[in-house]
Amino acid sequence: MTEFTMRTGTGKPLYMTKEQIRSDLEDGTNWATTKAKIPELSGNEIDHILGILTRPGRQIGVEQGKGIVLTTDGGTSRYTGICRYSAMPVSREQAVIIGERFIGFDTFEIGHADYSFRPVKTIAMDEATVIENTELNSVIPVFYGAMPNLGIYFQSQGGKWPSPTDFMNEGKIDEARAVQESAAEDMTNDIVYVAKIFAKTGLDGLDIDTTAAAGDADFYGTLKAIETIKKETDLALEVGMAGEKVFGLHADLKYEGERLAGMWPHQQGLMVEKAGGDIFGAVINTDTGKSCPWNLARSITFVKEVMKTVTIPVHPNMGMGVGGIPMCEVIPMDVVTRSGVAMVELTNCDGV
């Protein structure tokens, strides 16, 4: 029986027959369907993905003329002096030009090593000069990326507010909710503060990345920030999520009358669109205990529903540990290109 080289959720080679791959694809789409109550992939769609995954060659591509727009999160971080990436002695201004003229990126992103709005707030003026220098020399649109990261507003992570989980452990649910609301307000103010400074530089857009990592209060605070930024600046906003489901650490926060806790990607995208976001970055986390075919089918099932529901451009995240890509630092190009092609061909997404 012919075996094909697939990948585990951690990136290790996994040798599977067509029947085994099909079985994992069916299980993956079934997971999304059962949990989120959205349509599953059809038999033809499963066959389509199977064909892509078993296509010969160490890398594959979409048809000529079918390319999509690439946005990044991390962006310049991967080209500059950051040890979790290449740690190259290159400035961020230079990295954007490398991305533009050497790699051929459609957009690029500047970010700070401590990739959250709160630490960026204290150095926003310095970051602004990097953006100004970049905007003079670059042609492609430039984003500045950072995470809302509500978690770092709590004392357990060096923040100002008592940890809501401490209150929860004591059964003080009202206090746990109140402290999340206060922290979220601080977070909203920080994001808006940074955005207003960057809006003076000529920056093209802000990439609000890993939204809702600390649950529904994180999401709520971000949506409120989006509203204000769109009213008071000309910045484009790309809003990427943290996962396929919004955790209900508060569980009673609503936006536009909809409870945020428990929202799936197609529901998250609608909230981002209503708040004023311009591009939605759907995120489906990789289950490292499953194969990449399983994770890919689950991701595509979710993104197909996002494409049906959301009218703004959709760029599903397909980096380390999301969108069917394995959780590993150096990702093999066989799985990157096959997952990318499958996502584009099956969902007609606007970018990645």
């Binding site: 999509i68 727009v69 003229r101 484009a236 990318g340």
Partner: protein, 106 residues
Amino acid sequence: MDLAYRMSIGMGGIGTAGDIVARLQMTKRMKLDAAKEYVAKKLGVDQFTLHDTLQMRDIRDEIELGSITALPGKAKGIESKARIAEFFDIKINSVERLKKKLSLGI
């Protein structure tokens, strides 16, 4: 990973028309097909050409929209963005700022 995505699914940035399509998504919330159609119509080419580095290099060079090759005398950086803003009727923040700083009523 960046190079793999660029090669397998990316439009190609300033090597093609990827940056301009991206700007339409960002500033006008256009979906991919609508944005490609808009750019193709403005340039008077088909959608395949938008992805073709050979043809787009000549087109970008002629209109001075910025290109991979750094030809002397051609528009670069913010000069190219000013021309993109004008040609495609796209608001570009850095170009708006430049106009203000130059105090030009253009």
